[in-house]
Symmetry: C2
Subunit: 205 residues, 2 copies
């Protein structure tokens, strides 16, 4: 399919382009981050640190994520929750990290980018982000806090398949859970204690 | 939470902003679309027409969606599949329509925008878009083709909860299926016959 030279729109608020702007502190981190984060713990700690900074900068919900090139430990995408700041319910940490990683490598499927990529997230993915993971092409997902830890402070995780870990594994995507769970939980608690907005949409079940 | 005046980043490809550009033909439609599409059929037909045009313009996969203000029938967001064109696996029709609708009304939760909003989609949502629907604040989802119709031409729909319709209904979100299913299926077939890319990410279960 020829998509080269597709005209770029410049029009009104009903269309044009979708733009999700990142907070400056996050860009600063992404620009200077040149460590090789090789261990599962160091990658999860990085995602948790993004979540903590998002709380401290008051730029969004207590969630952080990053995509790594597995072999080198290089960060290729970062994300934090920006739902409120961007007025966009899709702007979860994992989604932003995936989109930025795909832009960085120039592929909509990271599994076709000539390397193995991995997603680290401060809290297990909600139903939307879970659904996005197979489409992203990442080959491993590393999680800090559990979904129930987010639910414990009032966040809705959505309707996930009963065995979501098995469903990802069936697709060749490894899942590592409970990495630094205490540290990740602490950020959720910090957000709740600071009176951070719990922003779930409309009636809940 | 104070997110006003949040600095906007201007930095390198690992961060900055995420931008999904829409094709010009889609903007043209959105700009001139001022009909009141009141019936379920007229709304679904509009979503199917977007899918068809995406195929004919060769700007992406055979999927279209739109968000409507339920009472007036006014289009507030449009979307088509732009995965390949945008190098972003998140760029499904429903996601784009939701993001544009939220931008148009200035709320990340359409259920808090002072009206009732509805999503019409040419094919039932994949697992990611399904997970995104409760977060969007739409109150009704109207679908043309079934998920299995997309699977029949090779698209992977992901791992949805067994009773996904019931799961949405439990959240107060009505689901209407099989609206103009034949017309919607015809667009999927048209895409397959034209040799359109079936772009699922690697290994499938």
């Amino acid at each position: 399919m020829d998509v080269k030279g597709m005209p770029v729109a410049d029009c009104d608020s009903r269309c044009g382009a979708i733009m999700l702007k990142l907070p400056q502190w996050l860009c600063a981190i992404a620009q200077r981050e040149d460590r090789a984060l090789v261990s599962v713990e160091s990658r999860t700690r990085f995602a948790i640190e993004l979540a903590r900074q998002n709380v401290e900068h008051r730029t969004g919900g207590p969630f952080g994520a990053a995509v790594f090139e597995a072999a080198s430990g290089r960060v290729v995408g970062v994300g934090v929750n920006l739902v409120e700041a961007s007025n966009c319910s899709l702007a979860h940490a994992e989604m932003i990290a995936i989109a930025l990683a795909q832009r960085a490598v120039g592929r909509y499927d990271l599994s076709a980018a000539g390397g193995v990529y991995e997603l680290a997230t401060s809290t297990e993915p909600c139903a939307m982000c879970l659904g996005a993971i197979p489409w992203s092409g990442v080959r491993r997902v590393v999680c800090g806090a559990r979904g129930e830890d987010a639910a414990a402070i009032g966040f809705d995780e959505g309707a996930k398949p009963a065995d979501w870990v098995g469903a990802l594994r069936q697709r060749g995507i490894e899942v590592v859970r409970d990495v630094l769970r205490d540290e990740a939980q602490a950020v959720l608690q910090q957000y709740a204690k600071a009176g951070g907005l719990i922003y779930n949409a409309g009636p809940r079940p």
